[in-house]
Amino acid sequence: MTPNPTTPVAMEVVAKVQETADTYTLTLDASEHPVAFAPGQFTMLYAFGHGEVPISISGDPADPTRLVHTIRAVGKVTHPLCAAEVGTHLGVRGPYGTAWPVEPAEGGDVVVVAGGIGLAPLRPAILHLLTHRARYERVFVLVGARSPDDLLFREELQRWRSRFDVEVEVIVDRGPPDWHGPVGVVTQLLSRAPFDASKAVVMTCGPEVMMRFVVREALQRGVAPERIALSMERNMKCAIGLCGHCQWGRDFLCRTGPVLSWDQAASRFGVRGL
C-alpha cells in the first residue's frame, strides 16, 4: 500500500504500449514504493491538473516494483493519462478493493471470461494462474472483443495459446474478411468449453450486460453461484469508502468490491437504477 491512503505518490512512466486505437498500457516504476497487490485490485491514478480516476492494475502480482495499468481514453482524466509519455510522472495511491478468487479456485477448473477492456483487470489473475499452474486443473481463457483490432495483449494471448496447459479462445463481434476465427458473443465460448462445472470457478469482467449473459450461462452449466466472480463498476472518488459514490446496496465497491461473487450480487443485479 502506498504510504498515505488519500495522498498520491509520484511514479514515473517507464514504458508505454498502444494496445488499440484508444487503449494504452502504462508501466510505472514502483521501486520506491513497491505496491503488493492481489489480482483484481485497482489504484487511483492522478494526471497532474486533471484529477484522479480508478484504474484496475493489469500487471503481474509477482512483481510489485513495476505497476502496470491498461487505460482506455474515454474521459476527462483518462485522456491525459493515455497521452502521458515515458518519463512523465503520474500520481498513484492504492491498491484498493477485493480480489479475484484465485485461491478458492485451487484444485478445480478455472474459466476466465473477459469482454473488451475487461481483460485488463483479469490479466493479473491469469498471470497468477500460470505462475502457479500446478495448483489448478484445466484453465480456460475466453476473450470477447469488438473486432480483432480491439483485442488487448494480442501477442501475449498468442503466447498463452501456444502453451499446452491453457485453452485460449477468442471471439469477435465482427470479423474482417481475413478473420477465420469465431464470430459471435463470448457466451458461445463459455457454453462450448469442456470444464467440470462441479469444481469450477468462473471469473468474468466486461460490460454489465455481457456479465449478466455470462453468469446465466455459467449457472445453466451448473457452476455454483458462490463460485462465479464478477467485477462491478461504479463511480469512485475516494477509493476508501468515505465519499459514497461507489455504493451499490450495502457495498461500497471500493471496499467490499469491486470483485463480488454471484451469490452476493444476484439480488441486486436485477434492480434497475440501484
Binding site: 481514453a73 474515454v74 469482454g115 463481434d173 478473420w179 458461445q188 460490460p207 450486460v209
Partner: protein
C-alpha cells in the same frame, strides 16, 4: 442403432427428442464433410436443408462481411421450414467441417405425415433460433464500442 442415428442422438440439437423422433429424423439425414472453402449454402439459392455441425467452423457471410460463425454442436439453416425461401447468407467452411445434412423436403413430408414428430422437431428448431436471437441481440448492443 445405426451409426447415423447414434451421431444424431449425440448432437445437442437432439437433446430432449424421443428415440422414435430421432429415428424418424435419421431417415432424412446424411453424413457430409466439407473442406476449407466449401460452401454449405449460397445466398440466393433455394434453402432446402439444415446442417447439424459436428466439428469445425462455418462462417455465415453476406458479401465479404462475416455475420457470425457456427461451430460444432450447433444448427445451421432452418428457412426451408418457411415456404419457398432462399438462403439469405453464404455459409462457408473456414475449418474442415463434419456435418449431418437434414434434407428439407424429406423432413417437411415427415412432419406433415407425423404431426407429433413435426411438433417436436419444430420446437427444437425454435430453441436454436431463440438462442441465436439472444446472442444477436447481445451483439447488437455493441457493448465493447461506446463513445470515447
Amino acid at each position: 442403432m445405426s451409426d447415423l442415428t447414434h451421431a444424431l442422438a449425440a448432437h445437442p440439437f437432439c437433446q430432449g427428442l424421443l428415440p422414435e423422433h430421432i429415428a424418424r429424423l435419421a431417415t432424412c439425414a446424411t453424413e457430409q464433410a466439407f473442406e476449407v472453402g466449401d460452401y454449405l449454402a449460397r445466398e440466393g439459392h433455394d434453402a432446402d436443408a439444415s446442417y447439424l455441425i459436428r466439428s469445425g467452423r462455418v462462417a455465415l457471410r453476406s458479401g465479404r462481411e462475416t455475420l457470425e460463425t457456427v461451430e460444432s454442436d450447433q444448427l445451421l439453416g432452418w428457412s426451408w421450414l418457411l415456404d419457398g425461401t432462399t438462403w439469405h447468407v453464404d455459409a462457408v467452411a473456414v475449418l474442415p467441417v463434419a456435418a449431418l445434412r437434414l434434407d428439407g423436403p424429406a423432413l417437411d413430408a415427415q412432419m406433415h405425415l407425423h404431426p407429433a414428430f413435426g411438433h417436436a422437431f419444430a420446437r427444437q428448431i425454435l430453441r436454436s433460433v431463440h438462442q441465436r436471437l439472444e446472442r444477436a441481440r447481445l451483439r447488437s448492443l455493441d457493448v465493447f464500442g461506446g463513445s470515447p
